[in-house]
């Protein structure tokens, strides 16, 4: 795998929680993720996998060590620069789909692209329709986000994560709230994205089947990486 292009890399990542007592939640975490790789993070509750994901996401800046995305050092950048990096190169899918309830599905998908400002309004709309139809949601596009079922909402949020064609898609328990049928749909989409479009997927999951089917699984315990391989 080492001949592959590295998309995200950490060196000696460490993080503390201070409340209620000082507690080392990440301890010297170093790993690389590659372009087009479908990577899952597993581990028991409290093992630090979600915390690691949020550090990778650039949203959490309070850590030790170094984070590099796409060859650029992320650590130490200002929050506004980080927001721009997230906007362009990182897409998020959350456990609780987190759509903006006052907007239509289409608008929810369009907003990050409008923020990026790379395409005109009409082009963004066209692209958003495209992403929604890829996820089988073209008929729901103009409905308010809050009127959709959980599975549909999760697919809308995936469409939103994809709108700017990010290099990396991150998921925090992206299937945690879904039934097996929807889980399968989401998994297939992720698989397709990594294989066909060369986008890297990094997902935290509790679902062993989901992890098993991914390219690589990193298992964590007590803030450390204990295995890089598939353990199943």
């Amino acid at each position: 795998m080492s001949n592959k292009e590295i998309i995200i890399s950490t060196k000696g990542l460490g993080k503390y929680f201070y409340d209620p007592i000082k507690f080392k939640v990440l301890d010297n975490v170093s790993f690389d993720a590659y372009k087009g790789e479908f990577l899952t993070l597993v581990g028991k509750s409290g093992s630090g996998k979600s915390t690691l994901l949020y550090c990778l996401s650039t949203m959490d800046t309070d850590y030790e060590g170094e984070l590099t995305i796409n060859g650029k050092l992320i650590t130490g950048k200002k929050t506004n620069e980080l927001a721009a990096i997230r906007n362009e190169s990182i897409g998020f899918v959350f456990q609780f789909h987190y759509l903006l309830p006052e907007f239509s599905c289409l608008k929810n998908v369009m907003i990050p692209a409008l923020r990026l400002g790379k395409y005109s309004h009409a082009e963004v709309e066209e692209r958003a329709y495209q992403k929604l139809s890829m996820l089988g949601l073209q008929d729901q596009a103009l409905k308010p986000a809050s009127k959709l079922s959980g599975g549909q909402q999760q697919r809308v949020s995936i469409a939103r994560a994809l709108i700017n064609d990010p290099a990396i898609i991150m998921g925090d328990e992206p299937t945690g709230n879904l039934d097996s049928k929807n889980t399968e749909i989401v998994f297939d989409i992720f698989k397709q994205l990594s294989q066909e479009f060369g986008q890297s997927i990094i997902a935290v999951t509790h679902d062993n089947d989901f992890a098993k089917a991914s390219d690589r699984t990193i298992e964590m315990a007590d803030g450390k990486i204990i295995s890089h391989k598939k353990m199943f």
Binding site: T79, A84, F94, Y98, L100
Partner: protein, 411 residues
Amino acid sequence: MKLPVNIDIAVTHITKGLRQTTVASFGVALGVAIYLFMNSLSAGFSGFSRDNIFQNNAHIKIYKSDEISQPLLPENDSNSLNVILNPQITTRSKTLINPADILQKVKQEPYVTNAIEQIDYTVFYNRGSTQLRGSGIGVNMIAYSEMFNTQKYMVAGKIMDLQGNINGVIIGSGIADKLNLNVGDNISMSSSYGISKVLKIVGIFKMGNSIMDDSKSFVNLSTAQQFLKEKASYVTTIYTNTIDPDNTTRYVHQLQTITNYTVEDWKTTNADVISGDKTRSTMMDSISLSIFALAGFIIYNILSSTISQKINDIAILKATGFSGKDVIKIFIAEALIMGIIGTIIGLMLGSVLIFMLSKVYMGGPVGYFPIAFKLSLYIRSFVLGVMMTLIAGYLPSRRAANVDPVEIFRK
């Protein structure tokens, strides 16, 4: 819908949260309306009291002040003797020397719009055994009317009839009532110099001010000079109007370079009225600004609670690449939209209040309620309304900008 995305989000928030938008806008509207209304009231009152002052006061008057005698020898040290120990008023005559020359020079000043000569003297109005004390004014009546708009207060006769008529007089309505006189009747007037004249009443004025109506009378300059046993150049005061009554202090200094006589502006003469005006407008200002601040607090409160409700949305926006600045822009745009809508409604509401009050008849010399309808007040209310919403929007939006998405997602 081709709005920038930040504005687009703000507009969606506003249109979907219609109830909050309405309450916030209404709060601003009320604040702006009351601010505009109270300031118009205040400006109306000030205008009215100023009009009252200018009924018989010019912007600037030039007169000879009483002189106090000085010691003949200056005091060198405490051992020397003063020749005059008891200072007294030494003014023999109140006349200005060569008033025509002064008048001409004053009129040449660029800021002077009008200037007239006047003689003030004490007079008694007699009929049979009845005697009323009063003050007479000797003027060129047409010039005087131009300056003080006396024409407006005439209830009988005409100002024109006094022009060049040395046996004519215009008297106040109070005198006419008390002595039971009318236009065309004769009135016997005598001065403190013992001169007595019978003059024909050519007009009666009523200014609604008993000090004026019960004592004042107008005669020609030469008639007044005869009452005072003075020659034809005798004039006690020169009244001057200027282009800007608020700026008279500067003009006083400039006029003082023309003449040695005392130059005094209306603000000095009416210091009591001016300070009363100031007190009232300060009071009005503080009340209306307090109400304004309250309206600001409503906006602040509503935006604060909106932000608390939308904290998840803010976290999402930040996760998808919106910066703190973008978030501030979104909420400031919301505040501004509510503020501008509210301000415009407030200005309309205020106009309705002003219009209604301006139709209330107060009677007497006041007439309709004196309330100003000034564009500058509208502009000030608008700017203040928008500024207030900007501040009230900025404070909570900073909190929104600092939302840490990780903290929200971890819950």
